[in-house]
Amino acid sequence: MTTAILTHSPAIKRPQRLGFGNALSAEWIKLRTVRSTAWTLASLVLVSIGLTALMGWLAAAELATGEAGEPVGAFVTWGLMFGQIAAFVLGVLVASSEYASGMIRATLAATPRRWQVLGAKSVVLAGVLFVIGVVTSFGSYMASNYFLDRQGIGLALGDDGVLRALFGGGLYLAVLALFGLGLGLLMRHTAGAVAVGLALLFVVGNLVQLVPGALGEWLTKMMPGNAGSTIANVESYNPMLLDPWVGFAVFCGETLLLLAVAGWLFARRDA
């Protein structure tokens, strides 16, 4: 085993200076070479589409009577409410798993420019989740629309807000994953970041509705989960929420702020 040649290998030419592309391609390999990525994404797609189909099947008849008082448009991407958790968790893991395994040291030895590491992780994660989110949204739409159509209340792709919601599903999951990345990098601990994130996104977001008056209303609109998710729905259950694009802009701003704080600490902390 010790017979291989060690002496300076002529095959290796040192690049002048590494670019963002090197970090990007390393992060892409990292993401796709662990099984947890595939499992997380598969569960995201299947659970979302499956639950949307189930809900469409259960609700279609009642919706058709018009007595339910619920907008039909809220049902075509309904399951994404559950699938989004997987997107968030994957985002957390991209940062926190490196701390759990100690691999962050190998990462920073290979790419000492820490903002570059964060940038590469963000681009790869957002890219993957956008594609997965769009696929899941289209799948959900087709699955639920099958049942809605049979009741004569199906939505066409050309209907108001449908295409926006389906691509919006990709945008929402992409930014949600980045939110998880920011939190994972900030806390460097999977369980802690997941717990805080889920509470913030999905529990506190509902609880603040109980705050009385304009403050409660305002808080409800601004909570990241509430602000971000409207873009992924054709119509929202909750008419109080911000308009889709406005809400998404707020969510992007909040995520950017979180990433900036996390990145600032990442650049200064010891690995």
Partner: protein, 333 residues
């Protein structure tokens, strides 16, 4: 070449690395020896730009790690064997590292072959033994064919064959003109591997010495002798050219055998209450060296700090102590 100047790392009130200066030269294996918690790993992490120094600086080939244009081509490191995601295969781990630094993919297979992991290249790292994990870490260090290599406790968890393999590998890397910086808490291992020795204790450099010098100085036989006429005996031993350390009525004679000491005592009719030879082990020398430093460190707050940057500072510290005794004794004679 690795150069540290006034390198310091503080965590709150504790100083893990205390203004150390050292140079690790190419073409040699430099052993970085110290007890657990002495500051070895912290120092290595600062070399790699992973931990930020509280003061001072450290450079690799004159450049701070973070400013190296393509770091894996210049520096390879085995910092922690298990700094690898368990769900990834050995090959995938090396592949992302290669891509991150523009290293051709065929080099991945080359280093896998080199460390003997070709057969398990596509197995998940989770199932690897500690030794296989170390080999993979070494493969990662060699990936960019770097001129500077850092190994933090590389023989941990290796079987005897693996230990010999690592030792041989490090010697070969140094023979090729590379800088090899290897930490260990095992003196015996260092004695077999390193050309140069950097001893650290409590965050300070205790010795910066040629390994051959260190062995020569510390492998001399030592004899412990107790006598009611200790002063008289010490004087006679010193006259014969041996170094003598004295603690109360107990003398430690350096370089002499028990028989020689007994003969000296017998020739002058001096009584001996104890006479035995001490094992001359480098491990003991190392423990004495670092134990001294701990005591000295604690006491040095009120006194002027010693010139610890001098070569072989600490061993000569011990020698000086005996030298003082000798002067005292000879002055009284």
């Amino acid at each position: 070449m690795i150069t540290a100047q006034g390198l310091t790392k503080r965590y709150g009130d504790t100083t893990a690395v205390d203004a150390i200066d050292f140079t690790v030269e190419p073409g040699t294996v430099t052993g970085f020896l110290g007890p657990n918690g002495a500051g070895k790993s912290t120092t290595m992490r600062m070399v790699m730009g992973l931990d930020h120094p509280s003061a001072g600086s450290v450079t690799v080939n004159g450049t701070a790690y973070g400013d190296l244009p393509a770091p894996l081509h210049q520096v390879g490191a085995l910092l922690e064997a298990r700094a690898i995601h368990g769900g990834r295969t050995a090959r995938s781990h090396l592949l992302w590292l290669a891509k991150s630094n523009g290293i051709p993919v065929r080099r991945v297979d080359e280093v896998l072959e080199l460390v003997g992991l070709t057969g398990v290249a596509n197995k998940r790292v989770r199932g690897f033994s500690l030794g296989m994990g170390q080999r993979l870490g070494i493969a990662a260090a060699l990936l960019g064919d770097p001129g500077v290599l850092l190994f933090d406790e590389p023989v941990n968890g290796l079987d005897p064959e693996g230990i010999v393999w690592v030792r041989t590998l490090m010697r070969r890397l140094a023979a090729e003109g590379r800088t090899v910086f290897v930490s260990s808490h095992l003196m015996a291992e260092m004695a077999l591997t390193a050309d140069h020795l950097l001893v650290i204790g409590r965050g300070r450099i205790l010795a910066d010495t040629d390994m051959a010098d260190f062995i020569g100085r510390n492998s001399a036989s030592r004899v412990r002798v107790r006598s009611p006429q200790a002063s008289e005996l010490a004087r006679r031993l010193v006259m014969r050219g041996w170094e003598v350390e004295r603690t109360d009525g107990v003398l430690t004679v350096i370089g002499a055998t028990a028989a020689q000491v007994g003969d000296v005592a017998g020739a002058d009719g001096l009584f001996l209450h104890e006479l035995r030879s001490l094992d001359a082990s480098l491990e003991d020398a190392f423990i004495r060296l670092t134990a001294d430093s701990v005591e000295y460190h604690a006491a040095s707050a009120s006194t002027a700090p010693p010139d610890i940057s001098a070569r072989t500072a600490a061993p000569s510290h011990a020698v000086e102590l005996s030298g003082q005794n000798v002067n005292e004794i000879t002055a009284g004679a």
